[in-house]
C-alpha cells in the first residue's frame, strides 16, 4: 500500500502561538505520495491550526514546510493551491446556484471574443470529474445534487490545477453512509493516482476504513504517528484522550451511587434523525446525572437538541414524565422545566448587546411572559445571587456580557438556566475553553443539583469530567449509541473501551 519513496510533503518543527495559547509546539508531519494520512485529535489539539499552516491560512512562527523536498512558504490559500496543496472543507464552499461546470472551473475558465467558452468549460469540468470516476450532467445547478456530490465537485475544483496534496477537512460530517462510501471510492482512486491525502475526521470507523497512517495530536503536541494496521482502536482513543489505558483503571471514583427514584424525567426511545444520530435510548430520573461520552461529532449535541425540542426526531419517541412530546418547540420545553445550555456560546448563548443581569434573567422573563416583568430590584437580586453562587467575576451585573471572560460568560449562561429551576438541565460542553477553577466549580454545581434531586445531562469531551460527574454514562460513536454504563461500571477505562470497541 505505502510506496517507499520520499515524502511528498514534510512539516518540521512547526510552532504556532496565538495570543495566550501555544496552538502548535514543534509538530512534525509527513505525507507520502499515494497514501491517506489521517490527522486526529480532540478539540484544541491543534489539528485545524496545522491544516491552516499547511494551506497558507496561517504562517508558522517557526519550522519549515517542504513540498517535494523544496522549502515552500504558502502565504495564502490560493498560493498553496498554486503550489499544489488543495483543501476541501466540511462545508461545501461553492455556489449552489451555479452549474456544476462553473463551480469546477469558474475563475480560470477559457474566454474568447464571445465571452466564456461554454463548451470548453464543460469539457474541462467533465474531465476533472472523470478523474474522480464521476459522470455527471455538468449543466445541472450544483444545489440540485446531493451534498456528497457537491463535496466531490469541491474536490474536482480543488484538483482542477495540478494538485499534489489534497487536504480533506472533515469532509464526511454531513454525509450519510452511502454518500461516505461514494466519497471514499473517489479518494481511493486519487490515491492510486499518486496524490497524498491528508484526512481529518472524527469518525473512527472511517479512519480505519480509509487511512494508511495515523498521526495524533494533543494539546498542540504530536503524540505520535502509526501505521493504521498497527494501532488498535483502544490505543488510538487513549492517545487522543491522553490517558494510558493501564493508568486509567478505577482511579477516578464514580459519583456516589445514589439510587435514583421516581418516574423518569425524560425517556428517549430509539430516537434519531435521517441525516444525524440513530437509535439513541436512555431515561433519566430525578437525582441522576447522565453523561454523554463520545468523540467530537459522535452525536451528543444532536441528541440534546432533540430532547430540548429544537429538532424533531424522524424516528423513535421522547417522553417527558411519561407523556410523549408532540410539539417540538423550545419555548414549550422551557415551560415544562427543560433547560439546554448550548455548546456554541457565541452563536447560541450570549446576547452580546445585553448586560450580564439581562442575560441571566432572560429565560425566566421569557417564561413569565412580557407583561409580568421582573422588577429591576428582583432582577438584580436574582442575578446577584446566582452570580455570587457561581462566582462570576467581575461581579459587575450592569456591564455588557461581552466584556466577561469565556469562563464567566459560561457561568452566566448556566445561571440563566438555574434561574428557572429546571427539572432537567442539559449542559453541552459547559467546560470548554474555560479555566480549571471554573471547570471545577461547574462540576461541583452539577453534583449539588443532583443531590437536591435535580436531573442533569452532562456532555463533555473531557472524559474525567464525565466520569466524575455522572451516575451513568451513555457512550456514542459515529452517531450511534454503543453502550450504557451505570453505577459501578462508570470508569474512564470502560468508557474509553466502549468508545473504541463498544456495540460491536
Amino acid at each position: 500500500m505505502i510506496t517507499l519513496s520520499e515524502p511528498l510533503l514534510e512539516l518540521r518543527g512547526i510552532v504556532k502561538t496565538f495570543p495566550g495559547v501555544a496552538a502548535l509546539q514543534s509538530v512534525d508531519f509527513d505525507l507520502l505520495p499515494g497514501e491517506v494520512h489521517a490527522l486526529l485529535g480532540e478539540n484544541g489539539a491543534g489539528k485545524s491550526t496545522l491544516i491552516k499552516v499547511m494551506t497558507g491560512v496561517h504562517a508558522a512562527d517557526a519550522g519549515e514546510i517542504l513540498l517535494g523536498g523544496k522549502r515552500i512558504h504558502p502565504h495564502s490559500p490560493s498560493d498553496a493551491v498554486n503550489l499544489g496543496i488543495s483543501t476541501v472543507y466540511q462545508e461545501v464552499n461553492l455556489a449552489p446556484n451555479l452549474s456544476i461546470a462553473e463551480n469546477v472551473c469558474l475563475g480560470r475558465e477559457a474566454r474568447g471574443p464571445l465571452g466564456i467558452r461554454w463548451s470548453d468549460l464543460r469539457r474541462r469540468a467533465e474531465i476533472a470529474l472523470d478523474r474522480l470516476g464521476l459522470k455527471l450532467d455538468v449543466r445541472l445547478p450544483l444545489g440540485s445534487v446531493s451534498i456528497a456530490l457537491q463535496q466531490m465537485v469541491a474536490i474536482a475544483r480543488a484538483l482542477d490545477v495540478s494538485a499534489k496534496v489534497l487536504v480533506l477537512d472533515e469532509p464526511t460530517s454531513s454525509l450519510d453512509a452511502n454518500e461516505v462510501a461514494q466519497l471514499f471510492g473517489v479518494v481511493r482512486s486519487l490515491k492510486d493516482q499518486g496524490l497524498g491525502i491528508v484526512f481529518v475526521t472524527h469518525f473512527l470507523d472511517q479512519v480505519y476504513e480509509l487511512s494508511d497512517r495515523i498521526t495524533v495530536l494533543r494539546n498542540g503536541h504530536k503524540v505520535g504517528a502509526w501505521r493504521a494496521d498497527e494501532l488498535s482502536r483502544l490505543e488510538l482513543v487513549t492517545n487522543m484522550i491522553g490517558r494510558d489505558a493501564s493508568e486509567l483503571d478505577r482511579t477516578e471514583e464514580a459519583a456516589a451511587g445514589v439510587a435514583a427514584t421516581g418516574e423518569p424525567v425524560v425517556s428517549a426511545q430509539q430516537i434519531g434523525t435521517r441525516h444525524g444520530v440513530s437509535d439513541v435510548s436512555f431515561d433519566i430520573r430525578p437525582g441522576e446525572v447522565l453523561g454523554l461520552a463520545g468523540l467530537l461529532g459522535s452525536g451528543r449535541t444532536e441528541t440534546l437538541r432533540m430532547v430540548f425540542g429544537l429538532d424533531k426526531p424522524d424516528m423513535g419517541k421522547i417522553e417527558r414524565s411519561g407523556v410523549p412530546i408532540r410539539r417540538f418547540d423550545p419555548k414549550q420545553s422551557i415551560r415544562e422545566g427543560f433547560a439546554l445550555c448550548a455548546e456554541d456560546r457565541k452563536r447560541e448563548g450570549i446576547f452580546p448587546d445585553l448586560s450580564v443581569r439581562e442575560n441571566i434573567i432572560l429565560v425566566l422573563q421569557a417564561k413569565r411572559g412580557w407583561l409580568r416583568k421582573l422588577s429591576f430590584r428582583s432582577q438584580s437580586a436574582l442575578a446577584g445571587d446566582l452570580a455570587s453562587r457561581l462566582r462570576i467575576h467581575p461581579p459587575d451585573l450592569e456591564g455588557s456580557i461581552d466584556r466577561l471572560s469565556g469562563g464567566n460568560q459560561q457561568k452566566a449562561l448556566i445561571a440563566r438556566w438555574l434561574a428557572v429551576e429546571p427539572a432537567l438541565l442539559m449542559l453541552d460542553e459547559p467546560t470548554r475553553g474555560i479555566d480549571v477553577g471554573a471547570k471545577f466549580e461547574i462540576m461541583s454545581l452539577v453534583e449539588e443539583l443532583r443531590q437536591d434531586g435535580g436531573a442533569v445531562i452532562f456532555v463533555s469531551s473531557e472524559l474525567p469530567e464525565v466520569v466524575r460527574t455522572s451516575t451513568k454514562v451513555l457512550v456514542l460513536r459515529d452517531r450511534k449509541a454503543v453502550g450504557m454504563l451505570e453505577g459501578g461500571q462508570v470508569s474512564e477505562e470502560r468508557v474509553v473501551r466502549e468508545i473504541a470497541e463498544g456495540g460491536a
Binding site: N93, A95, P96, L106, L114, L140, P141, G143, S144
Partner: protein
Amino acid sequence: MNRAALRERLPVLITAAVCVAMYVAVGLRFDKFFSLRVFFNLFSDNAFLGVIAIGTTFVILTGGIDLSIGSMMGCASIMAASLMQNGHWPAFAALSAALAFGALVGWCQGALVAFFRLPSFLITLAGLFFCRGVALRISQESVQIDNPLFNSLAGFQIQLPGRASITATSIVLFVVLIVCMFVARQTRFGRTIYAIGGSMASAELMGLKVRRTLIGAYTLSGLCAALGGAVFTLYTSSGDAISGTGLELDAIACVVIGGTLLSGGYGSVFGTLLGVLILGIVESAITFQGTLSSWWTKIVIGALLLMFMVVQKLIERAAARSR
C-alpha cells in the same frame, strides 16, 4: 428539461406566462391593442424604466439593493439638459458627463458596501438623497432642450408598417438588453455576480474577486440609472430634477416580477425585461380603459409583487425540503 433546471427557470417561466396572458387578455378586452404600433410603444414608452431595471438587476443578483436609481435618473436628466442648454455643451459631451456622474456615484456606493460591509439599502438610501439634492441644486425648473443634434437624435425612428416605429429610446433599450444579457451570461464578471448572490463567503473562498465585482455591479447600476435619465431626456426632450421619483420601486418591482430573487443568486436580465413589459401592459390597459386612474398601476404592481414574493418563498421552501 429535467426537474432541477425546470425549478430554476420556474419563476421566469411564470413571468413569461403572466406576460403573454396579460397581453392577450388586454388585447381581447380592447380593440386596437393588438397592433404593431401599440406593441412597439410598449418598448419606447418604458425604455427608461427598462434600462434602469436591467442595470439594477445586477445589484439585486448579488443580494443587495440599489435605492438611488430613481433620483440618479432625475439627476442625470437635469444634468444633461442643463449642460446642453445653460452650459452650451455639445450633446454627446453633456450626455457623457451625466453617464460618468452616474458611474462615479455607483462606484462610491459599491466601494462603501464592498469594503466596509455596510448594508446596501442604507448606503443607497443616502445616495437617493444625495442625487436628488444635487439634481435640485442644478435646477428646480424643468429645462427644455433645443440642441439640434440632440433633437435629431430624439426624433430618430425607424418606420415600420402600420404607423409603428422603433424610436431611438427603444434602440437604446435593446442595446442595453443585449449588452447586459451578454455580461450576465458570458463574462466572468457576470458569473461572479451570480456566485456572490449564491453565497458571498463561498465566492471568496473560491478565490473569486468579490469586492471588485460588487463595486462593478453598483457602478453598472449607477451607469444604467444615468443612462435611463438620458433616455428619459430623449423621450421628453427636457430635463427634470424631480423625474424618477419613486421609480426605484417600479424598477425593483420589475426585477422581482421578472423572477429575480431579492436574496440574490437567481434571476435573469431577460426576466427583468418581461417584468418591465408587464408593468407597461398594465399601464397601457389602464390608459385604454380610460376611466381607471393611474394609481391602479401601483396597486396592481404591488399585488403582482406580493404574488411573486410568495411564489418565490414557496419555491425556496420546496427546494430546502428536497435537499
